[in-house]
C-alpha cells in the first residue's frame, strides 16, 4: 500500500463523496414534465432542423406505448417521468462560447474541483475534452488540432447542424428508438452529448474524453453519444461522470452508439461515479444506460471497459453486435456496490459474422447491504461459423448482508462455434488476509489491496490517466465497510 492511497483514504473518510457539491449558477429550465411541447422546446433551443424534431416526436410516440423493461434484479419505486426537468442549461448558453476564455469562470472552477482542469489538461495530458454540464456541452478543447486530421469531435447538437448527413445515416442505427423504453425516452429528449467521427485510415493521436455532470436538482440527464470509426481508423474514448449530493433520486438515461467500419477499432472506457446515495440508501442517481457497438465491417474491434462505483441503481449493458467477419468484441467490467446500491450490469455479445470473437471479464464486489448482479447474454446465430467466446465473471462478497448474483444467458445455434463460461463467487481469502496482516497492513489496507488485485485484470485495460483514478476509486468505495 503506497502512502498516496493512504492519504486519499484519509481525506475521503471525512468527506466520502467529494463530488457532492453544487455549483450556484443561474440555470434556465422549462417546466417539469414530459410532453410534445417540451420536446419542441428542446428542439427549438437547440435550433434543430425539422427532420430532427420529427425523429424525436416519433420516438416519443413509441415511448408512450412502452413499458420499462423488467428483467433486472432491481428494486426501486416507480419513476415519475412527469416530475423531472428535461432541460437545464447554465444561463447565457444560447450562443456557444467560442473558446475557454468565454466560458463562465464558475463553470471552469467546477471542473477544476472535479479534477479536470481544462487548461491544464489541454497542455499537459494532451487529452481533448468535451464537457457536458447538465444538458449543454460547455467546451471542447483541442478542436483545432483534431480538425487538421479531419477528426470531428464536437457536441451532438453541433453535429446535427454541421454534419446532418452523418447524423441522419447513423443516429439510431445501432440503438433504434423503439428498442426499449429508456432508449425511446432518450431519443425523444436527448439534450447533448458527444459526436466523434474518425476519417478513413486515421489513428486518433490523443484520447478523446467527455465529462458528464448533473448539477441542477430534479434534472434528468439524457445524453447521446455517437462515435463512428471509418475504415482502418482507431480511437480511444474516455467518459467520466459525477453529480452533487441530493436527497432525491435523479434520472440518467444515456444512449451511446458506436460504429466500427472495416478494420477500425474503438476503445471506450467509462469511470462512472454518479452520487450513490447516503448510508441509508437515500438519494442517488438512477443510471439507466444503453450502450451498444456495431462491428459493421470486417476485422473491426470494439472494446468496452467500465468501472462502476457510483449510482443508487445501475442498469447498464454495454454490448457488441459482431456483424463483420473476423470482428472482435471485448467487455471488461468492475462493479462495486456499497450501502444500499443496486447494480445490474453486464453485456450482450451477438455473433453474426464468421470467425467473430468475444471476451468478457467481469468482476463484481458487493459490500454493505448492496446487491450486485452480472447479467450477460452470448448468442451465436446460425451463420457465425467458428465464432468464439470466453466469459469469466467473478464475484467477491464482503459482509453477510449483501448479495452477488450471476445470470448468464448462453445461446448457440451454430455447431462450429465454441463458447466457454465460468464464474465463481467467494469471500476474501482468509490466507491472503492473514499474509497481508502479518506484514503489518491494517485490516482495511489489506482488504483494499486484495480487492485491487482482484480487479487488476480489468483496471489494466484502462488508459493511463484513468487507471490511477480508478484504483483510488476502488479504495474509496471500500472505505468504512470492512473491519
Amino acid at each position: 500500500m503506497n502512502s498516496e492511497t493512504l492519504n486519499t483514504l484519509d481525506s475521503y473518510s471525512k468527506n466520502k463523496y467529494k463530488y457532492g457539491f453544487v455549483t450556484e449558477i443561474d440555470e434556465e429550465k422549462p417546466k417539469k414534465g414530459l410532453n410534445e411541447d417540451i420536446i419542441k422546446f428542446i428542439s427549438l433551443k437547440k435550433n434543430e432542423p425539422e427532420w430532427m424534431l420529427e425523429w424525436r416526436l416519433k420516438a416519443f410516440s413509441k415511448w408512450k406505448k412502452m413499458k420499462e423493461p423488467k428483467w433486472a434484479n432491481l428494486n426501486f419505486p416507480e419513476i415519475d417521468y412527469q416530475d423531472i426537468y428535461y432541460y437545464s442549461a447554465p444561463k447565457g448558453f444560447d450562443k456557444k462560447p467560442k473558446d475557454l476564455s468565454e466560458v463562465d469562470p464558475k463553470l471552469i472552477e467546477t471542473y477544476n474541483k472535479l479534477g479536470i482542469p481544462l487548461e491544464e489538461q489541454k497542455v499537459l495530458a494532451g487529452v481533448a475534452v468535451d464537457v457536458v454540464f447538465d444538458s449543454v456541452s460547455v467546451a471542447t478543447t483541442y478542436k483545432g488540432e483534431l480538425e487538421k486530421l479531419g477528426i470531428i469531435f464536437c457536441s451532438i447538437g453541433e453535429a446535427i447542424q454541421k454534419h446532418p448527413e452523418k447524423i441522419k445515416k447513423y443516429l439510431g442505427s445501432v440503438i433504434p428508438a423503439g428498442d426499449h423504453s429508456f432508449s425511446a425516452l432518450n431519443s425523444a429528449v436527448f439534450t447533448d452529448g458527444s459526436f466523434v467521427y474518425i476519417p478513413e485510415g486515421v489513428k486518433c493521436p490523443m484520447e478523446l474524453s467527455t465529462y458528464f455532470r448533473i448539477n441542477a436538482e430534479n434534472t434528468g440527464q439524457f445524453e447521446r453519444t455517437l462515435i463512428i470509426a471509418d475504415k482502418g481508423s482507431y480511437v480511444s474514448y474516455l467518459e467520466g461522470c459525477t453529480a452533487p449530493k441530493r436527497d432525491d433520486n435523479q434520472l440518467h438515461a444515456a444512449n451511446v452508439e458506436l460504429i466500427a467500419l472495416e478494420d477500425a477499432e474503438i476503445k471506450y472506457s467509462t469511470v462512472q461515479n454518479w452520487y450513490p446515495g447516503d448510508e441509508d440508501g437515500k438519494g442517488g442517481i438512477y443510471n439507466f444506460v444503453t450502450k451498444r457497438g456495431l462491428c459493421a465491417g470486417k476485422n473491426s474491434k470494439i472494446s468496452w471497459t467500465q468501472v462502476e462505483t457510483g449510482s443508487a441503481i445501475t442498469w447498464k449493458y454495454p454490448s457488441c453486435i459482431l456483424k463483420g467477419d473476423n470482428s472482435i468484441g471485448e467487455f471488461y467490467s468492475v462493479a462495486i456496490t456499497n450501502n444500499f446500491q443496486q447494480a445490474d450490469t453486464g453485456t450482450k455479445m451477438t455473433h453474426i459474422g464468421k470467425n467473430t470473437k468475444s471476451k468478457i471479464i467481469s468482476k463484481g464486489i458487493s459490500l454493505g447491504k448492496s446487491q450486485n448482479t452480472y447479467r450477460g447474454e452470448v448468442s451465436f446465430l446460425r451463420k457465425a461459423d467458428k465464432a468464439r467466446n470466453y466469459t469469466q465473471c467473478d464475484s467477491l462478497l464482503v459482509g453477510n448482508k449483501c448479495g452477488a448474483h450471476t445470470v448468464p444467458y448462453i445461446d448457440s445455434k451454430n455447431n462450429t462455434a465454441v463458447i466457454e463460461h465460468e464464474a465463481s463467487t467467494s469471500k476474501i481469502n482468509e490466507d491472503q488476509l492473514y499474509y497481508c496482516r502479518q506484514r503489518g497492513l491494517s485490516h482495511e489496507e489489506a482488504v483494499s489491496l486484495i480487492v485491487n488485485g482482484f480487479c487488476k485484470q480489468v483496471l489494466q485495460e484502462l488508459p493511463m490517466e484513468f487507471a490511477v483514478e480508478a484504483q483510488k476509486l476502488v479504495s474509496i468505495s471500500l472505505e468504512g465497510s470492512v473491519g
Binding site: N400, P408, I410, D411, A417, E420, E422, A423
Partner: protein, 408 residues
C-alpha cells in the same frame, strides 16, 4: 378443448374434487390459465415449447383393470409396475405403499414451495388422476424398481407421487419410462428425506416420438441426508425435466445430474434449482447434452444461497455438444448468493467435437464416424462410470450404442 371446459366436464373423475379447499384452489388455477398471456420471454417453463398442444387437449383417463404387482423376489428388493400412474397398496415392516386416492388431501395440497409460475405443475394440480405414496421405514436399506406403463393411446396422465425416506433409511430407486403410445404423462414427485437418510434416484427415459413426458420433482433434505438424482434421457418424444431441491437442514447434500441425447426434431427442456437454506450444505448440478439433427434443448440451472447458509459449497456445470448445423442449445446457469462465506461456481460450454481430437484419432487409422463415436462416449464417460449399479450401467450402455448407431 380449453382448460375450463375440460375440468368441468371431467371433474368427477379427478381426485379430491369434492373437497372444498381444493376446489377453490383449482378455480384459482383455472383463472391463471384464462388470464395469462403466456409471455415466453419471462417464463422459463415456456421456452421452446408448443404450449397449445398441452393446453388444448382431450382429457382421457382409464383406471387400470389388472391390479399391479409388487414383487419381493429378493430381500429388500422390490419391483413395482405402475399402470397409468397407479399401483395397488402394499405394506410390510420395511416399506409402505398407498394409493394417493386413499390419502388425506393434506398430502396433496402440500406443494407450496414449488414455483407458482409453472403451468405444467398447475395442470398437474388441476387434473390429478393418479399417483401413490411410498414410505421407507426407519433404518432400512431398500432397492425399488418402478416401471411406468401407459396402456392406451391418447391418455392424459396427471400423476403425483410422494416419497418419504424416514430417519436413517437408504433407498435405491430406479424409475423406467419406456412407452410406445401416443400419450402424455405429467408427473410430479415430492420427495422428503428425513435425518441421516439417503436416496439414489435414477430416471431412465426412453419413449417413442409421440409420447410426451413431463417430470417435475421437488426434494427437501433434512440434517445429514443426501439426495442423488441421475437422469438419462434417450427419448424420441418431448421430455421436460424440472427438478427442484431444497437443503433445509445442516450438512445435507444434493446432486442433480442429467444427460440427454437428442436427435431429429426432438426438444428437451431441463431445469435444476437448488436452494441452500442451512449451513454446511453441498450441492452439485451437472447436465450434459448431445444434440443431433434439428433438435433443441434448454437448460436452466439455479443455485440460491440464503443469508444463513454459510459454508456452502455449490457447483454447477453444463456442457453441450452440437453435432449438426441445425441443432441449438440454450443455457442459463444462474447464481443468487446472499451469504458471504461460500464457495460457488459454475461453468458452461457449448461447442462442436474437438477437431484436434478427431484429427488425432483419424491419423491413427480410425474412420471419422468411429472417432466421433469414441469422443461422444468419452464426453459422458465420467457420468456413466460413476453408476454403481451394474444392471443400470448395462441398460444405459445399450441405449448409448443405439443412439450412436444413428450418428453419421
Amino acid at each position: 378443448m380449453n382448460i375450463k371446459d375440460n375440468y368441468l366436464k371431467n371433474r368427477k373423475n379427478i381426485f379430491f374434487s369434492l373437497n372444498k379447499d381444493i376446489q377453490n384452489h383449482r378455480e384459482k388455477l383455472i383463472n391463471i390459465f384464462e388470464n395469462d398471456s403466456f409471455d415466453r420471454k419471462n417464463n422459463e417453463s415456456l421456452k421452446n415449447i408448443n404450449l397449445k398442444n398441452f393446453i388444448d387437449f382431450n382429457y382421457k383417463y382409464l383406471i387400470p383393470e389388472e391390479t399391479t404387482v409388487i414383487n419381493n423376489n429378493q430381500e429388500n428388493n422390490y419391483s413395482i409396475v405402475s399402470v397409468n400412474g397407479q399401483c395397488s397398496s402394499f405394506k410390510d415392516d420395511k416399506i409402505e405403499i398407498t394409493k394417493i386416492s386413499d390419502e388425506d388431501y393434506n398430502d396433496f395440497s402440500e406443494n407450496n414451495t414449488i414455483e407458482k409460475n409453472d403451468h405444467f405443475v398447475n395442470l398437474n394440480s388441476l387434473f390429478l388422476n393418479s399417483g401413490f405414496k411410498i414410505i421407507i421405514k426407519k433404518n432400512n436399506n431398500i432397492k425399488i424398481k418402478i416401471s411406468n406403463i401407459v396402456t392406451d393411446d391418447d391418455l392424459t396422465i396427471f400423476q403425483k407421487n410422494n416419497i418419504i425416506c424416514e430417519e436413517g433409511s437408504s433407498l435405491n430407486l430406479i424409475e423406467e419410462y419406456e412407452n410406445k403410445n401416443n400419450a402424455t404423462s405429467n408427473i410430479l414427485n415430492v420427495i422428503k428425506l428425513e435425518k441421516n437418510s439417503q436416496l439414489y434416484h435414477y430416471l431412465i427415459q426412453d419413449n417413442s416420438p409421440n409420447f410426451n413426458l413431463i417430470i417435475t420433482s421437488h426434494s427437501s433434505c433434512k440434517k445429514n441426508s443426501t439426495y442423488n438424482q441421475k437422469v438419462y434421457n434417450f427419448s424420441e418424444g418431448y421430455v421436460r425435466n424440472f427438478h427442484y431441491s431444497e437443503l433445509i437442514e445442516t450438512n445435507s447434500e444434493t446432486n442433480l445430474q442429467g444427460i440427454f441425447f437428442l436427435k431429429n426434431n426432438n426438444t428437451s427442456n431441463n431445469k435444476t434449482f437448488v436452494k441452500h437454506l442451512a449451513e454446511d450444505c453441498k450441492s452439485n448440478q451437472v447436465y450434459k447434452g448431445i444434440l443431433n439433427d434439428r433438435s433443441k434443448a434448454t437448460y436452466f440451472s439455479n443455485t440460491q444461497v440464503d443469508q444463513v447458509a454459510q459454508k456452502t459449497e455449490g457447483y454447477q456445470l453444463s456442457k453441450g455438444i452440437l453435432l449438426s448445423d441445425n441443432a441449438s442449445y440454450f443455457s442459463k446457469p444462474e447464481l443468487k448468493i446472499y451469504a458471504d462465506d461460500v464457495k460457488c461456481n459454475h461453468g458452461s460450454t457449448i461447442g462442436p467435437i474437438d477437431e484436434n481430437a478427431i484429427f488425432y484419432l483419424r491419423s491413427r487409422g480410425m474412420s471419422k464416424i468411429a472417432a466421433t463415436k469414441i469422443l461422444i462416449s468419452s464426453f459422458i464417460n465420467e457420468e456413466l462410470s460413476s453408476i454403481d449399479n451394474e444392471q443400470m450401467s448395462e441398460i444405459i450402455q445399450k441405449k448409448l450404442v443405439r443412439y450412436l448407431s444413428k450418428v453419421k
